[in-house]
């Protein structure tokens, strides 16, 4: 392979407009995007990989008040909606830049790849009423006030960090086509299969890795004893070849799962392999099982046969979390540089916590505003992908926050709640569905809350975005719902037209066949249909807004119009997904979430088989 030295670098400088004490001094942030392929400087010569870098750097003045933040993403211009690699990083002042190293083995000659970076900073607001600064991890510059946690010298109790988006940078590279090879005589096909003993001579052999499933739950969570089957195989099949697996950290795994690696001590645990090495079997494969660790994130698995290595990634996460956004009547506290986003939870938990704050404010302040320092302070919930919330920043499964791994817990500080209100506040916790473990008399006084509604139960109630008792699937349709009816509704919702004859015949027969095989095959088939429709260029060309999109999802899946409450819920869900995810990926994620809901499955299970399919009216 000819080594091509190609590097494209784009540098953007953004001058922040900061209303800070030293407004005269110039605060500058640098946004950087780099992309390279088979490049010496990137260190990937001959690897046939595309690598990228996204960074946000601050100068001294900016670093006094801000921390840098960057979200990086590599994509191919012919398929811009699919991220090949992405990540996020939050740095520290001007000392540690926010940096994301990206990489992908999707290397296709003639294609153009871009690193797209979103640059931001986190600011810390000054509150004149308290005279305190947000100061996570730094020593209190002001030196007054009482730290909320005894023994800790910094103060981060009275203020809220806020993210300021600065802009984006992008760098692109096109992989050159290889020179046209000199024609050579067609080799005579070997009369016998590749001889395993002479494997090196088997020029056509390929090594592949298979990993299933590619998403697992972290150990320690419900369902966390799950494992993935991983195989590395050589084709043509050759037995008794040396094979091995290695667990590796890839650029994509950096900072994944809500853990900022530079702020942790030690190395992220990657899980375990039942067997790390062995010989291939008669099928040419060496197979073992992979068990995830207690830490969520992305783990790389490389498989090697006779020196040829291939890789696959496994995502370790508790799925379906939402983030608790800032609210009027509560403070979000406890953000640290090691875990910058600590308020993730199940939909029920995230939706219920603000109601606690609203109830508390209404009970004790009526229609008057509640002073910031009096607001309910929600501390750690769960990390973005759940799993162990390693408070000690050592990746350890030891220590506190044993159960902040499934998105149903939240610690509420008691220090700013007068004792005379504790009983009432406990009553509010209960009424809003939380169990209470009272830690107010310990060194870190707080209430440990646990949302007591199992996720499965919650999936069937109104706040999960689908109203169960209003306009249910069967009620809104006058006649029986058949596969044919389902098809026409799906086409109408996505493409705003009827099916053509070919489309109808093709999909109708597939749905009817799946229906005869049982509920699960039918559900899978409907899911596949919906995914295809919403990914079709015909749908994308309609340029639907997020509000229109969730309406389309309802019309297509539940065959009814969306309610205002449902629209708000699902649009919020869409906006809660990581900023770095391409739009289409977010939408597919929403569809997957939607399809996991009981209401949708009930609707699909209610579809009846049709004895005599109606004649479709194809579009002329």
């Amino acid at each position: 392979m000819k080594i091509s030295l190609l590097i494209t670098l784009f540098l953007a400088i953004c001058v922040l407009s900061i209303a800070a004490a030293d407004a005269k001094a110039q605060s500058i942030a640098y946004g950087i995007s780099i992309v390279c392929a088979d490049d010496v400087q990137c260190g990937d010569v001959g690897t046939h990989t595309v690598d990228g870098y996204s960074g946000t750097w601050l100068n001294y003045n900016a670093g006094l008040y801000y921390d840098p933040d960057v979200i990086g993403d590599i994509y191919r211009t012919d398929n811009p909606e699919t991220s090949l690699s992405n990540g996020r990083s939050i740095g520290y002042s001007d000392i540690i830049p926010a940096e994301v190293y990206l990489g992908t083995s999707n290397y296709v000659e003639g294609k153009t790849y871009c690193t797209f970076s979103q640059h931001a900073v986190w600011s810390y607001f000054y509150y004149a009423s308290s005279g305190l600064w947000f100061d996570p991890g730094r020593y209190d510059l002001i030196g007054n006030g009482n730290p909320p946690w005894p023994g800790l010298p910094f103060i981060y109790y009275y203020v809220i960090p806020r993210r300021h988006f600065l802009g984006t940078t992008q760098a692109c590279i096109t992989i050159p086509l290889s020179p046209t090879p000199t024609p050579t005589p067609t080799p005579t096909p070997s009369p016998t299969p590749c001889d395993p003993a002479l494997l090196a001579s088997c020029t056509d052999s390929t090594v592949s890795i298979y990993l299933s499933p590619t998403a697992l739950k972290p150990s320690g969570t419900a369902g966390g004893t799950n494992t993935a089957r991983v195989s590395v195989c050589i084709t043509p099949a050759a037995a008794n070849q040396d094979a091995s697996f290695q667990l590796v950290r890839r650029p994509t795994s950096l900072n994944s799962g809500g853990h900022i690696e530079v702020k942790h001590t030690g190395q992220r645990p990657l899980g375990k392999l039942a067997k790390a090495s062995g010989k291939t079997g008669s099928d040419g494969c060496f197979t073992t099982t992979y068990s995830p660790s207690h830490i969520s994130g992305i783990a790389g698995v490389n498989g090697t046969i006779t020196g040829t290595a291939v890789g696959a990634d496994v995502g370790i996460a508790v799925p379906g979390f939402f983030t608790l956004l800032p609210g009027q009547n509560y403070n979000l506290v406890g953000t640290t540089l090691s875990h910058p986003s600590n308020h993730w939870g199940t939909p029920g938990t995230v939706d219920s916590l603000p109601l606690i704050a609203d109830d508390y404010k209404a009970l004790f302040y009526g229609s008057n505003p509640i002073p910031t320092q009096d607001k309910i302070s929600f501390n750690d919930m769960a990390l973005e992908w759940g799993g162990k919330f390693d408070l000690g920043e050592k990746w350890s499964n030891a220590g506190h926050h044993d159960e902040h791994d499934e998105g149903i817990n939240c610690d509420v500080r008691s220090a700013n709640v007068p004792n005379t209100r504790w009983n009432d506040l406990r009553n509010i916790f209960n009424a809003r569905g939380f169990g209470i473990h009272d830690e107010t008399q310990t060194n870190a006084p707080h209430w440990h809350l646990r949302f007591g509604v199992p996720t499965n139960d919650f999936a069937s109630v109104i706040v999960n975005g689908i109203e169960q008792n209003a306009n249910s699937f069967v009620e809104v349709n006058t006649g029986p719902v058949t596969p044919g009816y389902l098809l026409e509704q799906a086409w109408s919702a996505t493409f705003d037209r009827e099916t053509t004859q070919d489309e109808w015949e093709n999909w109708h027969s597939q749905l009817v066949d799946a229906k005869t095989q049982g509920q699960s095959p039918f559900l899978n088939k409907v899911n596949a249909l919906e995914h295809i429709l919403f990914s079709e260029s015909e749908y994308l060309a309609r340029h639907r807004t997020d509000e229109e999109f969730v309406g389309d999802v309802f019309a297509s899946h539940l065959l009814r119009e969306i309610t205002q409450q449902e629209q708000t819920y699902w649009v919020n869900y869409l906006h809660s997904l990581p900023i770095g995810l391409p739009k289409q990926r977010k939408r597919i994620t929403l569809i997957e979430q939607f399809e996991s809901r009981q209401a949708f499955q009930d609707a699909i299970f209610a579809v009846i088989a049709e004895d005599a399919p109606p004649t479709p009216t194809p579009t002329p």
Binding site: N397, A398, E403, N423, H437, D438, T442, V463
Partner: protein, 325 residues
Amino acid sequence: MRYWLLTVTLALLQIGCSSYAQKTETYENRTKAERKPFQKRNLDLKSPESYSKRELENGKEYDHKPTVKLLDERAGNYEFSWIGYDKKKKSVIYQREDSVEAVVEAKIEKDSEGTLTYKYLVKNLVDSPTYLHGFVVQTIAPDVQTTKSDAVFIGEMSNFIKEYKEGVWKDFVVREETSPRINQGQSIEFSLTSKDLPGVVGCRASGGQGYTIGVGEHMPSELDRIVPVNLWAKGYTIGPIASLSKMNKSERTRYLLESLPTFVEAGWMSEDTSKIYRAILEREDLAGALEQSKKDLDKEYVTNEVFQIIEGLNLYDNREIPFNR
């Protein structure tokens, strides 16, 4: 001839006696109504069957032995214990809130403007193992009002919880700062107002503290997940239901017919009494049901809850304001 006359006389006498006996069975030999106490939940709390060993900061593992031990079945007391990071036994006591033994009696009063005041007298029974903590009642009407009181915390259960998703469940809790505890043998009255008619609604009662006390380190997750949340005793009472006033006669009759099993389950009438009402209602005779309930209330064959539901549905039929009695 004389023999024939005697036979006829005896036969007539037998018919008369038989008829009298039937009447007696219908009106006199029924079981009297007796409200049933709130029901405990069917839930066993047991030690986790499998769990992962705990990890220490040095990476070593140890068996922290998470255990759930029943201390007192009647009182619903459990000990949740484990070996802490400091190698000492940690122990948290949990009392089931549904262990309270209580009963609720409801009555309705009407003011001159037609507003109904629903009054709930919750009695903590003499044998109850703990004090009464709170009472929750379902309302399915838009105009429900409660009066703020220093003695009682009044809130609403989240309809995010499946159990409480229908209507608004008003939550009344005795405030310990300002009110004495409702101990065994004592009772407390909660109230709310609405203009809507009464129907059968759900209610809950809770007893004891309702939360666990920390011991300096969080409970292991496998134990934390076992501690129930809002495990409150279940019951029925009457509460405002807006849809009742929109029902026609046939729908109201059907509503009552469908409610009969609940009346029996709640102890508001016996099974044999419900058969009498079923027969009356199957003829769509709402007025007959009201007459029957008046008599039965006097003789304690039905409770006030049954009478007031039937009265409301009857009187509203004539566009009169109910509850003039």
